[in-house]
């Protein structure tokens, strides 16, 4: 079932679009991460360069991830998947859909991580394995899953253009969180911000939030009125 849904996401035509999009992403990331400083200067101001390298990447991801996830999820409420509900049951179809999209987002993150590591390794002089920030990637990954699950919960075929509103709200929300530091905002929707990622239980709160959203998704799908 998961393979069927993933094939539905990446049809022959969409595969080309996604490939083009990933190339564009890689190029944009290269441009963002590109630095004009010489190798000697990079070694001289190593700490500063590393800080900026990581900072630039995560700022870029804040804009790129909601947009990419929005584009991927836009067609999630497809009729050819919905009609299978009568054959396999709602729970199985919805669970398979959630797992499929989580897998796709995970692959997208893996690709991003690959670009992040490879660029540092081949185009900078300060690369050592110590510069890589794994926990921050995890926070951004969990934030992306939260966004994904909200989209799966709220976006349907008839209102799929609403996805762009969600993307804009997500980007604005991330920007607001950086300026208005209020813990209530984080409790409400725990998207990563530079302050909250320093908290001890942020990761666990995000994991719990993702689990809760999965359960809400499944629960709502049980009673939802399906239109084809």
């Amino acid at each position: 079932m998961i393979k069927y849904i993933i094939n539905g996401i990446f049809t022959h035509k969409r595969r080309k679009i996604v490939l083009g999009y990933l190339l564009l992403f890689a190029c944009s990331l290269f441009l963002v991460l590109k630095t004009d400083t010489t190798a000697m200067e990079q070694l001289l101001h190593k700490e500063y360069e590393i800080y900026h390298y990581n900072n630039k990447l995560f700022e870029f991801l804040k804009f790129f991830m909601p947009l990419s996830i929005g584009m991927l999820v836009m067609e999630h409420d497809q009729g050819h998947i919905k009609i299978l509900v009568t054959y396999f049951g709602r729970k199985r179809i919805h669970l398979a859909k959630i797992v499929s999209y989580i897998l796709v987002v995970t692959i997208l993150f893996y690709f991003t991580y690959l670009v992040y590591v490879l660029y540092a390794k081949f185009f900078t002089s300060f690369y050592t394995t110590k510069i890589l920030i794994h926990d921050e990637f995890l926070y951004v990954y969990l934030s992306s899953l939260i966004f994904l699950l909200y989209l799966l919960l709220c976006i349907r075929e008839k209102n799929k253009l609403l996805i762009f509103v969600f993307v804009i709200v997500n980007i604005l929300y991330s920007m607001i969180q950086e300026r208005i530091i209020r813990i209530e905002l984080f409790y409400l929707i725990p998207l990563t911000s530079s302050l909250f990622k320093t908290y001890k239980y942020t990761l666990w709160y995000q994991v719990g939030y993702v689990t809760l959203l999965v359960l809400i998704n499944i629960h709502i799908s049980k009673k939802e009125h399906l239109t084809i």
Binding site: M1, K3, Y4, N7, G8, T11, H12, K13, R14, Q78, G79, H80, K82, I83, L84, V85, T86, Y87, F88, R90, K223, H225, L226, T227, I228
Partner: protein
């Protein structure tokens, strides 16, 4: 001996001024007809479990239902053969190549290049693939030529003889008069 699969008892929705009483048992062949807005789609939605009834009761056995919607719901830009194979794979069933040949479906083409009639045939094949106790078809004849109608009727007759219950909603009930055991007018 027929076993009751789904029973609607005064079931209805708040937006429809109508209550449905219907018993679907194994081996039934039921044709539903009615003018636009008479509640055909609502009845099918209730049978399929797509919507919850606001009034009355619905008793259903945990059965597999195969459903053909009126609207075209095929994934575009996919090779027809690959799509049908995928459907058969997830349903753990085999494709009926005889039916595909009789329908004259161009398997090598991409779905988006097919004509309306051929797309309907692809939807029918994907719906008829699998192991199910109840088959629900909403306007199955839409876009089909007379040869395809004959092929479909022959196939449905065979299925019905295997005790599969069939419910068809159509504006052309006379096309099924030789097969229908019950005709419900809404």
């Amino acid at each position: 001996m027929s076993i009751s699969l789904i029973e609607l008892n005064e079931a209805g929705k708040f937006y429809l001024d109508k209550r449905f009483n219907l018993l679907i048992s194994t081996g039934d062949f039921i044709v539903i007809k009615g003018i636009n807005g008479s509640g055909k789609t609502t009845l099918l939605n209730l049978i399929n479990g797509f919507t919850v009834n606001d009034f009355g009761q619905i008793y259903r056995k945990p059965i597999r239902i195969s459903y053909l919607p009126e609207r075209e719901v095929l994934p575009l830009y996919v090779n027809t053969h690959h799509y049908l194979l995928e459907v058969a794979r997830i349903k753990k069933a085999h494709l009926d190549y005889r039916l595909i040949t009789d329908f004259e479906i161009p398997l090598s083409k991409s779905i988006h290049t097919l004509s309306k009639g051929n797309r309907q045939k692809v939807m029918l094949v994907s719906c008829l693939t699998g192991y199910y106790s109840l088959l629900v078809l909403d306007e199955p004849l839409s876009g089909l030529d007379s040869k395809a109608v004959r092929v479909l009727k022959k196939y449905l007759k065979k299925l019905n003889e295997k005790n599969v219950a069939i419910v068809i909603s159509t504006h052309k009930p006379e096309r099924f008069k030789d097969l229908a055991q019950k005709v419900i007018e809404l």
